[in-house]
Symmetry: C2
Subunit: 556 residues, 2 copies
């Protein structure tokens, strides 16, 4: 009888458990649970109180329902006995955080606090802590704090201490009542194991921690707000666990609730994007993993702590133990194409697609792939949702250049795809220019499954081979791999994520190789992209910001 591990992936709208054969990584069953409260961004469920703009909360009860529903369902579907499940790994969106009490319960479960929105989970896309993020950046800059460089020079409003400080600013009583503030990933692990662990991934990428320097000094926090001086010791923890470690063992109470065997290994919590790296077979430097979907997340391992301009973060042990995990991102990729299809595609195209029973995306792709690189004369800047890397500037906006009266929708669609490939190439260039090798690309996520033309364009633009993760459930598979490591070799699992990756992860046979003729044209187009990227993005002409300013005045 085989051994199995469970990967549990907590997304923005749902959670899923995937049961995986430890021997070969085969996914034997999966179960999804859609959160009852989804994203809470309009009214607080407990009071009906309207939430301000930019708020996004969640109910941690939904996370518990995921555990209690999907784990038994996956086992039942596969006909696998709990005795044969040797470990559990979980991944979560991040920074998704909450205040908890001494017993580890979320404050929002407490009748005393449930009517206070700050007692609830702040989801990754809660953007209301921008004033706090601005102050963190300003004060860190003034003080010459070294940690800033690890984050491309800018701390996001989505991150841990911006959110923590917002709680303190707006609800000091919730802040005071909280025994701890904790990442949802670590809270789930706490529920499973009964022990608080803090994972290096979210600590490093979202909470300004590094293995070598630790957290920013108490002085820095004091400079932000005297009440924050001891925030690490009072509300956080200085004990950070590397990725690939075992957090603890499943406690009997939880084992009973979710139908697993008590005592099996539970992996240190992880982040959805980062857990995909070993799941695409990548456990060594030189191989960039890109999760391609509504946005792109780029990850690559390195052996030294390089500073890469405009990266999202670099964390030692943050992805794979023993390596520096570098992360960069593009804030809008699939979202571009969805926007285009919704807003810019004429009725004739919709009618044709409908008549042929294909999607508008497929019709546009079919037409666009008949074009040669550069044949449209178009060039776009992929900034419909700002630029995350390498400019780290949310106020940049999109550009379509080169339009003529003969310009066709499929040409604009292709130009948008090419623009996202240029954006990725700009990120790769930032890494390689900084001494972080990117020799090959490994892709996973929705887009590689859906659009071969897009993948070929990425190969041609970057001049690199692209391999595709074999599993469409890459993220959950990655968590299951960490689960198999937490289970350990003695139980039928593995000693390390390196061993697990060899056996459990796979890429498809089909790969994308750069076509020399296309590469040559895209090299010219990329040079043009860089010119306007730098002109509009690096201060030569801040027209986009001024237009946003005028827009804000006029909308006000």
């Amino acid at each position: 009888m085989g051994k199995y591990s469970l990967g549990i992936d907590f997304g923005t709208l749902s959670g899923r458990a995937v049961l995986v054969d430890v021997e070969n990584g085969r996914e034997v069953a999966a179960s999804v649970y859609n959160y009852d409260s989804g994203v809470i961004d309009e009214v607080l469920p407990s009071t009906g109180e309207r939430l301000p703009h930019d708020w996004a909360l969640q109910d941690p009860a939904d996370y518990l329902r995921v555990l209690q529903t999907t784990v038994p369902a996956a086992l039942a579907e596969a006909g696998v006995s709990a005795d044969d499940v040797i470990g559990v790994g979980i991944d979560f969106t991040a920074c998704t955080m909450m205040p908890i009490d001494k017993a580890g319960a979320p404050l929002c479960f407490d009748p005393k606090w449930k009517n206070n929105p700050h007692a609830w989970v702040k989801l990754w896309k809660h953007h209301a802590a921008q004033p706090e993020a601005n102050q963190i950046n300003e004060i860190a800059g003034e003080r010459g704090e070294s940690f800033l460089a690890r984050y491309g020079g800018k701390i996001s409003s989505e991150w841990f201490f911006a959110k923590a400080w917002q709680i303190l600013d707006e609800s000091p009583e919730v802040y005071a009542a909280a025994d701890k503030l904790i990442e949802a990933a670590d809270w789930i692990v706490l529920q499973l194991t009964g022990r608080e662990t803090r994972n290096a991934c979210t600590a490093g990428y979202k909470a300004m921690w590094s293995k070598r320097e630790g957290f920013p000094s108490n002085d820095f926090y004091k400079a932000l707000d005297p009440r924050l001086e001891r925030v690490i010791d009072e509300k956080m923890s200085r004990t950070i666990s590397p990725m690939g470690a075992k957090a603890g063992e499943l406690i009997p109470e939880m084992a009973r609730k979710i139908g697993l065997k008590p005592g099996i290994g539970v992996a240190v919590g992880n982040v959805d994007a980062h857990v995909a790296v070993p799941a695409t077979t990548v456990v060594e430097p030189g191989k960039m993993v890109i999760i391609m979907g509504t946005s792109n997340c780029h990850m690559v391992l390195g052996t030294e702590p390089k500073i890469v301009p405009g990266m999202c973060g670099v964390v030692e042990d943050g992805i794979i133990p023993g390596f520096f995990g570098f992360e960069a991102g593009q804030s809008c990729v699939g979202d571009h194409f969805a926007w285009f299809v919704e807003n810019c595609v004429p009725a004739e195209y919709r009618d044709e697609a409908k008549g042929r029973g294909i999607s508008v995306h497929d019709l546009l792709t079919e037409k666009a792939q008949r074009l040669k690189p550069g044949e449209s004369g178009l060039l776009a800047l992929d900034w419909w949702n700002g630029n995350r890397s390498v400019l780290v500037d949310a106020d940049l906006t999109g550009v379509m250049l080169g339009c003529t009266l003969n310009t066709k929708p499929e040409e604009m669609y292709r130009a948008l795809i090419e623009a996202t490939a240029f954006g990725t190439n700009k990120i790769i260039k930032a890494f390689t220019d900084s001494g972080v090798a990117v020799d090959e690309i490994y892709a996973c996520g929705g887009l590689p499954e859906q659009n071969k033309m897009l993948m070929q364009i990425y190969a041609d633009v970057t001049g690199r081979e692209i391999k595709i993760a074999a599993s469409p459930q890459t993220v959950a598979l990655g968590s299951a791999m960490f689960g198999a490591v937490a289970g350990g070799k003695a139980a039928g699992g593995y000693d390390s994520i390196f061993d697990a990756a060899k056996k459990m992860a796979r890429v498809k046979d089909e790969m994308y190789k750069p076509i020399a003729a296309n590469q040559a044209v895209y090299a010219k187009l990329f040079a043009e992209y860089e010119l306007i990227h730098d002109y509009f993005g690096r201060g030569a002409n801040d027209v986009m910001k001024r237009l946003k300013g005028i827009k804000a005045e006029q909308a006000g």
Copy 2:
């Protein structure tokens, strides 16, 4: 019984005669004839021979059919006797030119020549003389020819000597057989009066002539090609008639054919755009007339021969006698909006428009007019068909900047409209910076009739009042006014176009006044437009030309 004059307007696809009451400018009847051969741009009718790319010919027999069909029809429709028609004025597209024999017949009427495409009329949009235009510009530049400055530094491939030289280059036998090369406007007048006249408008705007300097020197033409040394004296004429003059009297043979009284006055031939100036009441400086349709043509009168950067031309007596007529243009205005509706409007919009029984343009306008200036955050460069003024560069292309995931089709539609208004404002600025006053705007053409929002945007962007021509047939009315002047006061007409304009031309009561709050925002947006206009248009970044180069290579 009233007196009438006839305005005959020869367009690209049809000709129309409009019968006008001389007393008050009232249009009493109109008749249209669609050319049998339309635009000949695929095969030569006489041989079936395929024409090269960029060719555009016409059959002058179509012009004669216009005269013979529409004039009697207009008189019949109105029940007006030929005895009461005192004059005829005509206007034509330009430069539309042909080779004729000693008797004034087009060479293409001659069986000996009809199979040679160079014997046919070269329509204004025949663009195959670009190599000759390039050489004219190069050699004129090297020689420091003063005439270049009158044309914004560039002679167009559409113009007279580029076309003449192409005939010589490619068919020296047609060139040799031609007694003259003549503008179609002047050829029609020759048919009506039996006399060759050359009008100052086409001579000045299209054939490098000026009242003060005449034509370029024989030396210049010799430098182009020794065989062209005496082209003016051999194939053209040095006798140029000012606008508003009488060309001659209707000859009996033609009078019979078209049902008019012989001996009535025939005005010097004119150009469609320019004849609209007095028809919108403008016969003095300070008032810019804009014909707004698929493209914009801007005309303004001045008392001195100023050099305005990037204008299309300045011609003394070329629009109104006694004044310098300045012309500038935008090569793509209504064409932008038509392109947008065809290529960029989602099915939902088409369905909504259809359901409500309105056009997609009207629906977009309805939605766009709810927006405040600057509220979309978008800024466009109106170069979908290059830039005619002030950059005089056909290789520039369109830009849409400021897109976000929230950008809506009506916002892009409005941004395109605003971009054309900024382009017009850039032209106005070029005029006023050069000492040519533009205090008010007078508009005519299709767009002012169709789109009030657009007109208000033009008023707000330019900061000027805009009056609209009362007649939707402004061009034909203008020709009829010149016809009334050719008829003369004694016959019931007028002594001058100034007198005719007072009585026959009118603007609507409704006008567009700038709204101060909008003006303030548009001033900011125009400053941004100028920045990117100059960056992409004046050599700082020739990305558009390089993209066109790559496009040409890839399409080849």
